[in-house]
C-alpha cells in the first residue's frame, strides 16, 4: 500500500531537499526500509548499528503518536508518516 512520508528538515540533506515522498509498506518498519531504498543516506540517520530506530526519533501516523519505537505497527492505504526528532534547545 502507498504511504506518504513527510521528511523533517534535519534529514532533507539526505534526500536532495525532498520534503515528502511515497513509499510502499504494510508496517512502519517496511515503510522506513522503503524510504531508505529511495534515499540510502537516510539509513544511518534512521537506524543504529543493530537496525533499531534511533532513540531520538519519534514516528507519528496521521499526526498521532504511536507510543512505540517498535516498527511493527500496521499501516493502511492512505496513511501518512511523520518523523520527528527530539529537539532540546531553549
Amino acid at each position: 500500500m502507498s504511504i506518504k512520508v513527510n521528511i523533517p528538515h534535519f534529514l532533507q540533506d539526505n534526500t536532495s531537499s525532498v520534503k515528502t515522498t511515497r513509499v510502499k509498506g504494510n508496517t512502519i518498519g517496511e515503510c522506513l526500509e522503503a524510504l531508505v531504498r529511495q534515499f540510502p543516506r537516510l539509513k544511518k540517520e534512521l537506524f543504529d548499528r543493530d537496525g533499531n530506530l534511533r532513540s531520538y526519533l519519534t514516528i507519528w501516523v496521521n499526526k498521532e503518536g504511536t507510543n512505540s519505537t517498535e516498527l511493527t505497527v500496521s499501516l493502511k492505504e492512505g496513511d501518512e508518516l511523520d518523523i520527528l526528532p527530539v529537539i532540546i534547545g531553549g
Binding site: Y56, T58, W60, E64, V86, I88, G89
Partner: protein, 252 residues
Amino acid sequence: MATLTPDERERYDRQIMIKGLGEAGQKKLKRAKVFIAGAGGLGSAVSLYLTAAGAGTIRIVDHDKVELSNLNRQVLHRDEDIGQPKVDPAATRMSQINPNVKIETNQVTITETNIAQLVAGFDLIIDALDNLPTRFLLNKTAIEKNIPLFHGAINGFEGRAMTIIPGQTACLACIYHEAMPDGKFPVIGVTPAIIGCIQATEVIKYITGLGELLINRLLVYDGLSMNFTEFKVRKDPKCRYCAHLASEGKAD
C-alpha cells in the same frame, strides 16, 4: 483574595477587557506563583510576557552566566550583562517592566537533590531548559508534586510546545526517550520568542481558566514553512513517569 490597586487596574486595563478574563482573572494572575526553569531564549520570552501580564510571583532559575553568543536570542540580557549571572539581568528587566511582580531568582543548577525545594509552593512549572535530562527531571517532579508543566523546546527555525497536567494528560516521557547526541543547537532568536509566547499564553489560560489547553497535543512550529502542526499525543501505558497515574485521569 488578591485585590487590584487603581494603578493595577489601569496597567492591566486592556486585558481586563478581554471577555472572560476581567478583574477576577487578573486577581487570579496576581495570586499565581510561577516557576520558570531557564533564563535563556524561551525563558526570556515567557518571563517578560508573564511579568507584563501581572503574574504575582515569578521564580526564575538558571545556573549560567551571560555570554556574547546568547544575545541573538536571550532578550532578557544586554551587552553590558556579559559575565553576570543570567538571573540578575533577568530580575532587573522584569522589575523594570512591572514592579508589581514579586521576582525571586536562584543561580543554581537544577538537580534531583534541589528540585523539590525549588518548586515547593509554586502553582506551575515552565520548561525553558536547554537539555533533555533536566526536562525529564522537571517532568518527574511535576508528576510527583501534581504541578502542571508547560513544555517548550526549539531548534533552528523549529519549535515545540505542550501542556502537561499530571494525572490527566500525556507527559513528556510519553513522547520522548532520548536526545540527539549533539548538545549545541542552532537557533534564530525569533523561534524561542514564538514558542516562549505560546508557553506564556498557555500559562495565562491555565491560571484564568480560559480557552482550551494544549494538552495531549504536541504543537510543532516550522518557521521555514511558516506552519503550525498539531500531533495528537497518547498517554504511554508503559511511561516510566506517569503510567501509574493512568487510572486517575482520562488520557484523551
